[in-house]
Symmetry: C2
DNA sequence: CTCGACTATGACCGACCAGTCATGTGACCG
DNA sequence: CGGTCACATGACTGGTCGGTCATAGTCGAG
């Protein structure tokens, strides 16, 4: 399993009323809410815009959720579960090699972001929520889960001697995390793909697989060999 | 020179009135404003809080600046100029080696962030401003300037054969940028240093130079050699 | 038909926001 | 003294926000 969300899953659920809703209405509401939080950060997101989009009354939101914070928490949890289980299901279980495993995780993560821009953007925003106030707990858990996954990978890699054993694990994990999260921005630029537009249009779009692999090759390459040229016989064996 | 800010510098200046202010008052205002934007993102920052801190009337802000946006632009420009010229002045001119030059740039940047937390945090926030609406232009320029600097470094490194020549320059520059910007978070965690608190207390604090160098060594090491262990005789010379 | 449980509603509240402007103050000059 | 200019002020406007609540509709059970 890629990440464990059991902690979050238990708390801050929607009300029973929400689940009693006709499927179609519930989904329209969820879509609109995901849109809103994918397009704006927590503070800027507006319940007013959501209800206007769905065409329901302001008060209805409070029939479904205790408040903005609970709604947000639910959405983030939902998105995280969806993305992580997508990656999990796409990962073959028998890839032992560290770099390949890392590469594949990032690859499927990227595919998810392009095919489900609403969910991807929501999680991306959550990652960068200022770590203060209401957002803190969810964002911190999201971050912690990702870091934990990477740490497991790195530690296994060191045990297998695929990775050097003189690494500062904390730093390496941190660096991998940053490169993973921010890759989205690079891909957006390189492919001329606007995630915001994709969210607004509500449609995912397929991704140029070859080009994506090329970028991931660069990333894996950088991580494996570093940037240095072969010239002055550095301390490599 | 590390970065060029001439474009921005020309526009969106404070009014003459602002410069006519007694030195002490002007500085109290600037300090309070920097505090506010260092602690909150653009949208959340409140002119009301600033004037309350300084002890002046709301209307006075509009005697000094055309509005919130212009104030912000001025502050970011000011902070960027200060930081970049600090780094520039601290960099010896004769360091040719790519990794060392990069390392030193990051090193002095980090020293700046710890000693001038207000300015450092403001720039950090600006970096992560959502690229839409009012903020767009300044944030984009800030980002562009940093990327340009890194690109120059990388291209020189490739010319000198310090770096491999099969690199995807765009990606490498992007990766360096992300690692540079986010290093702040890692250092904060490792050193148990809260930038927010430092801003609130208004005091910079000296930094454990040895520990900082240790982290930078890891970073430079990762970039130079990569993570791979020596074991299976990879394609390194 | 009546009752009670459930759900939808939107006017309303208090808060905070950026920005405006009429009024006032005080310094300098003729 | 009167006039002018620079500057300070804070009540006020119009807007948005999250959240509340009295009211009303709906529907199945008795």
């Amino acid at each position: 399993m890629v990440q464990d969300w059991s902690v979050t899953r238990a708390e801050a659920m929607p009300t029973p009323t929400f689940f009693n809703l006709p499927r179609e209405k519930r989904e329209r509401f969820l879509d609109a809410a995901l849109d809103e939080f994918a397009l704006h950060d927590y503070r800027s997101a507006s319940l007013g815009r959501i209800v206007a989009t769905v065409g329901i009354a302001k008060g209805s939101v409070y029939q479904y959720f205790a408040g903005k914070q609970e709604l947000y928490l639910y959405l983030v949890t939902l998105a995280a579960e969806t993305k992580f289980s997508f990656i999990d299901a796409s990962l073959p279980g028998d890839v032992a090699d560290f770099f390949e495993r890392f590469r594949l995780s990032v690859y499927h993560g990227a595919r998810f972001d392009f095919s489900r821009p609403r969910l991807g953007s929501l999680l991306y925003n959550a990652t960068y929520e200022p770590s203060g106030a209401a957002t803190l707990e969810v964002a911190a858990q999201l971050r912690a889960a990702s870091l934990q996954y990477l740490r497991t990978l790195v530690e296994a890699g060191i045990r297998n001697a695929e990775l050097r054993d003189d690494l500062d694990v904390d730093y390496v994990v941190f660096a991998l995390y940053q490169l993973t999260v921010s890759l989205r921005d690079f891909l957006g630029e390189r492919f001329g793909f606007s995630f915001k537009d994709a969210v607004r249009e509500g449609s995912g779009s397929p991704i140029d697989d070859a080009a994506l692999h090329a970028v991931l090759d660069q990333m894996a390459d950088l991580l494996r060999q570093g940037l240095a040229g072969p010239e002055p016989g550095r301390d490599v064996t």
